[in-house]
Every structure is written in structure tokens, then in C-alpha cells.
């Protein structure tokens, strides 16, 4: 029976915490030059969530891939989370999902094959919920297991939502609460309350589909989803791609219940420190900002929420729509201002 197998026994760390440090990745990518192409609307240079290629005047293709080792013990839940996380990159570009392919690493022995069936079933559920088709996949013999999707979506070429495209004077909205990395680490060290951990799992399984539709309905030009680099890492990429300064008010950032208490207890996933190195020097932290709260702004998220800039007169409507669509913690967390000094200012 797969029901008894705890996937977390296979990994030391999981989810997006397994990402290569962003600074090291940037070092490698800087030497990879690709000739410009007139139809390549979004490429690797702006650290976006997916590549976007214009096919014709009305259609652009979105392609993305994401996979990682287990973030939770239950195989079906892991499948759902990994799929929601991969699908999210299409949503972060404002697109809709067409097809998906499974990417699987799974050992030939040591784990019952039923566990794999459960992971794939979880992934399939989410692809269907996204309105997409699962069209195949690729599996290699690997330890620890890994799962994710390559996803294809489409968007109107004039409606691509990218990292670049913020201008001064926008309200910044975060649709899901932060803290999944801390809750996952807290659960593994036995410190997290089970009820809090269950909410974190729910959050990670929630698709960003409705959020993407709301961004499009409100004419949002710039946005992303928060994943391994944490709120500030992704905010930094947007600030630099758009050449504006982001002002984020820490006290307004929604947090998962239990996350702050865990951070207070010292439960700070190692990836937070990698993310801190990444943003160091480009973020101005207000004096007296609570240390645990500051670190949670760098918490690596798995299947995190959409983060976008919207015209201030539409911010209230955006919040109402997001909350109605099930993103109960959605909040205005800051604003954009003309670029001055730092890429990001974090206020208390």
C-alpha cells in the first residue's frame, strides 16, 4: 500500500528550497548569450517565470518547467503541490494552460510503485482543474524521487504579464500568505502545529488560475508568482526589470498562521540565508524591523501566490475579487515609486 509510505523519509530538504542559490545561478547564466529574436517576447534575461514566443498577432506561446523533491509525506498531496507550482508559471505570465508533460525521477526499487501512481494522480487532478490536457511525460530511475511538469500555455501577445512593466504609482498585491518554507521545515523538526501545517499544504495546492484571470480582467501589466527566492527575491527581479523602487510594508504582508512563531523559535530554512545574500545591498530594511519578520520576507515558497502591481483605483476591486475567488489572505503589501537608491525599501 502506498498510504503508509512517507515521502519525506527520502529527502533532507525539499520543494523550492532545493533550488540552486540564485546568485550562483546568475553567475552561470550570464555567459549564455542568445541572439535576439523579434518574436521572443520574454526571454531568460529578465528572470521571468516562463519563456514567451509570439506565434501570430493574437497568440503567444508560454513554456515553462518546474520540478523538485518531496515537500510532504503524502504522495498524492505532493503530486498536487508540484503540479500547482509548475502550472503557476503560466498563470504568472497571465496565460492559460493548454498541455502538460510529467517530469519524474523515481527509484526502480526501495519505494512501492503505487506511490508513483499516487503522485501522478495528484498531478493529473491539478492539470484537469487548470483546464489543461496531460499529454505525456518522461521518467528516469533516480533517488530521491522528484516530480513536476513542463507546461505549455497561451496568452495574447499584448497581454503578457512579465517582471518588467511596473511603473511608479502602482499598488502591490500579494495573493497568498508567506511561510510555506518555514511551515514545512517546522513540521519536519516537530515544531509546527499540525493545523498550521495542514493550512500550508492547502495553500500550496491552490492553483493561481483564478488569480491570473483577475490580473487580466484588471489590466495588470507586471506580475510574478512567489517561489524559491522568496517575496523579496522575486520583488527584486521585478524592481530591476522594471527600473522602479518597490516599497513593501512588512506589517501588511500576509503570513501563514504559525510562521512567525516558528521563525521566532529559530526555524529559519537555510534557503532564507541564500535569499538574503541575493538581495543584500539592493534592499533597504527599515531600522528596527523585526528580524523574524524580515527573514519571512525571504522564506522560500513552494507554489506561492501571485504578486503584481495594479493601478491604485483598481486595488480594492482586485482584493475583493481575489478574496471571493478563495485567496482569503490577499493583501495590498506596498507600492511602486520612482527608482531612487535601492531596488526595494522594506518599511516596518
Amino acid at each position: 500500500m502506498s498510504g503508509n509510505f512517507d515521502l519525506l523519509t527520502t529527502v533532507e530538504y525539499g520543494g523550492c528550497s532545493a533550488k540552486l542559490a540564485p546568485g550562483r545561478l546568475a553567475e552561470v547564466l550570464k555567459d549564455l548569450h542568445q541572439p535576439a529574436h523579434p518574436d521572443l517576447l520574454v526571454d531568460i534575461t529578465t528572470h521571468d517565470d516562463a519563456g514567451v514566443l509570439r506565434l501570430d498577432a493574437a497568440t503567444a506561446l508560454i513554456q515553462t518547467v518546474d520540478f523538485f523533491p518531496p515537500v510532504c509525506g503524502d504522495p498524492r498531496t505532493f503530486g498536487r503541490i508540484a503540479a500547482a507550482n509548475a502550472l503557476s508559471d503560466v498563470y504568472a505570465m497571465g496565460g492559460r494552460v493548454l498541455t502538460a508533460l510529467n517530469i519524474v525521477g523515481f527509484p526502480a526499487t526501495r519505494i512501492p510503485l503505487e506511490v508513483l501512481a499516487e503522485i501522478l494522480a495528484g498531478g493529473q487532478e491539478k492539470v484537469l482543474e487548470a483546464g489543461g490536457l496531460m499529454v505525456g511525460g518522461h521518467t528516469i530511475d533516480d533517488w530521491p524521487p522528484k516530480y513536476g511538469l513542463a507546461v505549455t500555455g497561451i496568452v495574447h501577445p499584448q497581454r503578457v504579464i512579465a517582471n518588467a512593466g511596473l511603473r511608479p504609482g502602482l499598488a502591490l498585491i500579494l495573493a497568498k500568505p508567506l511561510g510555506t518554507g518555514t511551515l514545512v521545515a517546522g513540521q519536519r523538526t516537530g515544531l509546527a502545529a499540525d493545523a498550521d501545517y495542514q493550512v500550508a499544504l492547502e495553500t500550496m495546492q491552490q492553483l493561481n488560475r483564478a488569480g491570473a484571470e483577475i490580473m487580466q480582467a484588471l489590466d495588470v501589466k507586471a506580475g510574478t508568482d512567489i517561489t524559491g527566492f522568496g517575496l523579496l527575491g522575486h520583488a527584486l527581479q521585478m524592481a530591476d526589470a522594471s527600473d522602479v523602487t518597490l516599497r513593501i510594508q512588512a506589517s501588511r504582508v500576509p503570513l501563514l498562521a504559525g510562521a512567525l512563531a516558528l521563525a521566532e523559535a529559530g526555524c529559519l530554512p537555510g534557503a532564507m540565508f541564500r535569499n538574503l545574500d541575493y538581495v543584500e545591498g539592493k534592499v533597504r530594511f527599515a531600522p528596527g524591523l523585526d528580524y523574524s519578520l524580515k527573514m519571512l520576507l525571504l522564506d522560500p515558497q513552494t507554489s506561492g501566490g501571485l504578486f503584481f502591481g495594479v493601478a491604485p483605483e483598481k486595488a480594492g476591486e482586485a482584493l475583493n475579487r481575489l478574496r471571493d475567488a478563495g485567496y482569503a489572505a490577499a493583501a495590498i503589501v506596498g507600492e511602486t515609486v520612482k527608482r531612487a537608491g535601492h531596488s526595494i525599501e522594506v518599511l516596518r
Binding site: G169, A185, S251, A265, C267, D290, R348
Partner: protein, 202 residues
Amino acid sequence: MSEIIVDARGQLCPKPLILTKQALKDNVVGAQIVVLVDNETSCQNVERFLSDNGMTPHVSADGSEFILRFTKHAPELAVPDAEAYCTPAANASYVISLASETVGRGPAELGAILMKGLMGTLKEVSPLPSHVVLYSSGVLLAVDGSPFADALRDLEQRGVKLLICGTCVDYYQKKAEIHVGTISNMLTILETLTRAGKVIAP
């Protein structure tokens, strides 16, 4: 005083940090604490955590084992007041709301004198307000050539956010003459006032 040994060898991230934090909590100021870890990442993270919180650990390596020695320097780590962040409405932040060019309802001449006093003194107040909101004829305080534009700019540079009512600016047709603060809207202004711990309307 003897050393407090925290043996975090064999523990995965972030357990060494949790044990370190626990040791800081359990011991008095001046306590000599020694943390043992057996992987470099944990060592770096604990070191970073300690230096971020004002301590200077001495780090030595013995093969694959790392030893961090430090002294608990203060009774509490920086700003442990987590409550303030869970309930933003209850924190100490306050907002100053200025709905007029003058202060109070007395003679205009007196009101102007009081405004001058207010603007001159506000920067000395500790803590500073989180926001100053200008609306109605209060927006005229911010136009170029107003004797208060510089004081407002100074407050802004000290981190005070200046919100200026856009409808009012349009009414007075002064948009081109305002180069300080953020022209804002009713939603943002209302949210700011709602979330403030206190609103002061002199």
C-alpha cells in the same frame, strides 16, 4: 562561568539554528555559548544569524566539524515584539491628517502661525508619524512655493510617507506644482487612516 555546549552535530537545517536560539533564550547575558555543527551550510547560517543579531561568533573548523563560540550580549534579540506585526492596527504607528492650510478653527492668522509651529516641530517628534495625509485645502501646503514644501520634503526623507488627495489637487488645479509626496486616492488614504494606531488631526 562555564561554557554552555550546544551539540547540533548530525542535525539538519534549520535544527542547529533552533537549538542556538533556544540556548540564547535559556541563558543569561554574558553566558559563553559553544555551538557544534557538522556541515558548512549550517555553520554559515548560524554565524549569519548571530551576527545579524549583534553577536560576533568566533568560528573554528576541525575537519568537517565547526565550532562557533560567542557570548550572549543582550537580554533579548532585536525587537522581539512579534505581536505588533500580527495586529498592525494595534501598533504604535500614527498618522497626521491635515485638512486645511491652517491649524484649528480660530482666526486665520493664528491658524497660520500654528501651522508654522507644527511644521517646524514635527520632525523633532519621536517616533515620527508613519504618514502625513493632506486633503481639502491642506494639499496647498505641498505646492511649490509654499513655505512648508521643504519641511514636508524633509519629513519624507526621514521615512514619513506623504499622501496627497488627488481629487483635491485636481480641484485646485495644482497637479503640476506639487513635487513632494505621493498624489493618492481615497482608497489608499482611507486604508492608511483605518490601519493607523492613532490619527492626529491638529
